[in-house]
């Protein structure tokens, strides 16, 4: 129990969570065929970066700038999701699917 507590209040713990989220995000982006799934993968990577920024700013630099970056990442993620959902919806209207493999008119 003590080990777990010290791990959760150390930089390494947060970085580990960030790294796991990052790996899951990459895995999600690479394996999902569904456009919403890919979008979720992107969000996971963004949040991994956010956790890193907050952890570094708390344990390493002691400055607030890392936490501000984390706020901006959330903002960007929201903006990106809004545009992404609009694009995906449009694609669905025309193709009746959101499978990324179906986006195949434009190719060599």
């Amino acid at each position: 129990m003590n080990h777990l507590l010290s791990f959760s209040s150390s930089l390494q713990g947060y970085l580990a969570v960030g790294a796991i989220l990052f790996a899951l995000g990459i895995f999600c982006v690479l394996t999902r065929k569904n456009a919403i799934g890919i979008l979720l993968g992107i969000e996971l990577i963004l949040n991994a970066a956010g956790i890193n920024f907050v952890a570094f700013s708390k344990f390493r630099t002691g400055l607030i700038d890392g936490q501000i970056v984390a706020l901006f990442i959330m903002l960007i993620a929201a903006a990106e999701a809004a545009v992404a959902l609009a694009v995906i919806l449009r694609f669905y209207r025309l193709k009746q699917t959101i499978d990324a493999d179906e986006a195949s008119i434009l190719r060599n």
Binding site: G41, N52, T61, D65, V69, I73
Partner: protein, 492 residues
């Protein structure tokens, strides 16, 4: 308060564009009948010209402002001119095209001006957060612009692919930024550089991982190997005027960000005005390999294509390869050559895509067949296309030749990367094949039916306006070179 006001004054060109954006919104709300005529275009061009004038006014003394987050130096000034010019020309192109419908012209102007502010921020950022905001501002709005023809499946697919690739690339990049922040404890370029120098070549695996991740984001913006996959599909599917803009504006912005990071974070200025890589982080041989791969992939993939828009998309990837070549020497002549190349590339590439757009409006498609004999029925269009194509190939007397000559020359002079220069020349020869295919179709093949086509005066003026600098810069280039040198001398 006074300090902030002074800082905002230095940001005047961007503020000006933003104000015009608001004005467009208000005018559109008050007078909806204005949206379908040329009014939004005129306002966009006026906004760009006003911002250029302001750029000239604020660009006098190099300075860092907003707590060192943004810098205003000769480098920023150059890229601001380039972006505002590109935006003005793109809106002129778009308003003559059937692909941008009359009823949504005002949206086009709004989105274009938004992207222009983002590009401008990318060029002046000297802080990772500002750079990220600039890149996202350009990316997210570009997704919308690529899907501008809402009921067109190709346009939607372009937007969809752009979104997936762009989202992943920028997410990877910000994770890389977080690692750099952890390693160096700062977001500011100068402080990151200071702690990299202090590490004295003691560079761990994590630094390299961070570099790879950041590169993936920037490579996506300039469509360099291995993040170039999206470019042909997006360029083909997006409306042609928007493709013309994508292939120049955001790409140049990506180069601005890449150059600034490489020259201020990963290299130190030496006394004679050149740069030296930070100890343990010598990126030049990696850039050489990337440059070679980008050229080869772009040129070889273009060979088998029949869609002219796609050929030009691959050719624009190849041109990124040529431009990256100027970075391997890390000296003044190489970077000056890149800046010159960007100017030449801007005029000739927009011009070439413009011609494709005009032909596609007439014929409804843009494959080589659609270009048959079009040189004879519209001689001005055909001649302008010939000039742009010759310049893109790098035939003497045109600006593209001078650009290539300067870049290859700087690589050969430095001596270390002779193979790269040789590869560049070989690639130019290969590229001649697919460029000439377009010209052959335009001038040597007879059209199927005798038809009388007339190039609208609106397009003729613009095309000739881009063809003239393409020729003039090929013959009389010293002033531009001096300007490029001056641009670099004040890089902060």
């Amino acid at each position: 308060m006074g300090e902030t006001l002074h800082n905002v004054m230095l940001l005047a060109p961007e503020v000006c564009i933003t104000l015009f954006l608001c004005l467009l919104f208000i005018v559109d709300g008050l007078f909806p009948s204005l949206r379908s005529n040329r009014f939004p275009m005129i306002l966009t061009v006026v906004a760009c010209i006003a911002s250029m004038i302001l750029t000239a006014k604020v660009g006098k003394t190099p300075a860092a402002y907003f707590g060192g987050m943004v810098v205003n130096d000769g480098f920023t000034t150059f890229f601001r001119y380039l972006f505002f010019f590109t935006a003005a020309v793109s809106s002129y192109v778009a308003f003559g095209s059937k692909e941008v419908e009359a009823k949504s012209r005002i949206e086009f102007s709004l989105l274009l001006l938004c992207v222009t502010v983002g590009m401008s921020l990318m060029a002046s950022a000297s802080n990772l957060l500002v750079l990220y905001m600039g890149i996202e501002m350009v990316s997210i709005i570009s997704f919308v612009m690529a899907g501008f023809r809402r009921d067109n499946l190709r346009s939607n697919e372009a937007s969809f692919k752009y979104l997936v690739f762009g989202g992943v690339a920028s997410a990877l990049m910000i994770y890389g930024f977080s690692l750099i922040y952890g390693l160096t404890g700062s977001l500011n370029y100068s402080q990151i550089a200071a702690s990299l120098i202090a590490a004295q070549g003691n560079v761990g695996l994590i630094t390299w991982l961070a570099l790879v991740l950041i590169y993936s984001g920037l490579a996506y913006k300039i469509s360099a190997f291995p993040m170039h996959f999206w470019a042909p599909d997006v360029y083909e599917g997006a409306p042609t005027p928007i493709t013309a803009f994508f292939s120049v504006g955001p790409k140049a912005a990506g180069f601005a960000a890449l150059l600034r990071i490489l020259l201020t974070v990963f290299a130190v200025k030496t006394g004679d005005g050149n740069w030296k890589a930070v100890e343990g982080l010598s990126l030049t041989s990696i850039i050489a390999v990337i440059s070679a791969a980008t050229m080869i992939v772009g040129n070889l993939s273009a060979l088998g294509q029949t869609n002219v828009k796609r050929i030009l998309a691959y050719s624009s990837i190849a041109h990124v390869g040529y431009m990256l070549m100027g970075l391997v020497t890390l000296d003044r002549s190489g970077i000056t050559a890149i800046i010159f190349y960007l100017i030449a590339y801007c005029a000739m590439n927009i011009g070439a895509f413009w011609v494709v757009g005009v032909v596609s409006n007439i014929r409804g498609r843009e494959d080589l067949e659609a270009f048959r004999g079009i040189g004879w029925s519209m001689p001005v269009l055909g001649t302008c296309m010939a000039i742009f194509i010759f310049s893109l190939t790098g035939i003497p007397m045109f600006s593209g030749f001078i650009g290539k000559f300067l870049i290859f020359g700087s690589v050969i002079k430095s001596g270390g990367f002779l193979w790269l220069a040789l590869l560049g020349v070989l690639n130019s020869v290969v590229s001649l094949y697919y460029y000439v295919k377009i010209l052959k179709s335009m001038w040597l093949d007879k059209p199927e039916t005798e038809e009388s086509l007339r190039l609208p005066f609106y397009h003729a003026v613009g095309l000739v306006g881009l063809a003239i600098p393409t020729i003039v810069l090929g013959l009389y280039f010293t002033p531009i070179l001096e300007f490029a040198e001056k641009t670099l001398a004040t890089l902060l």
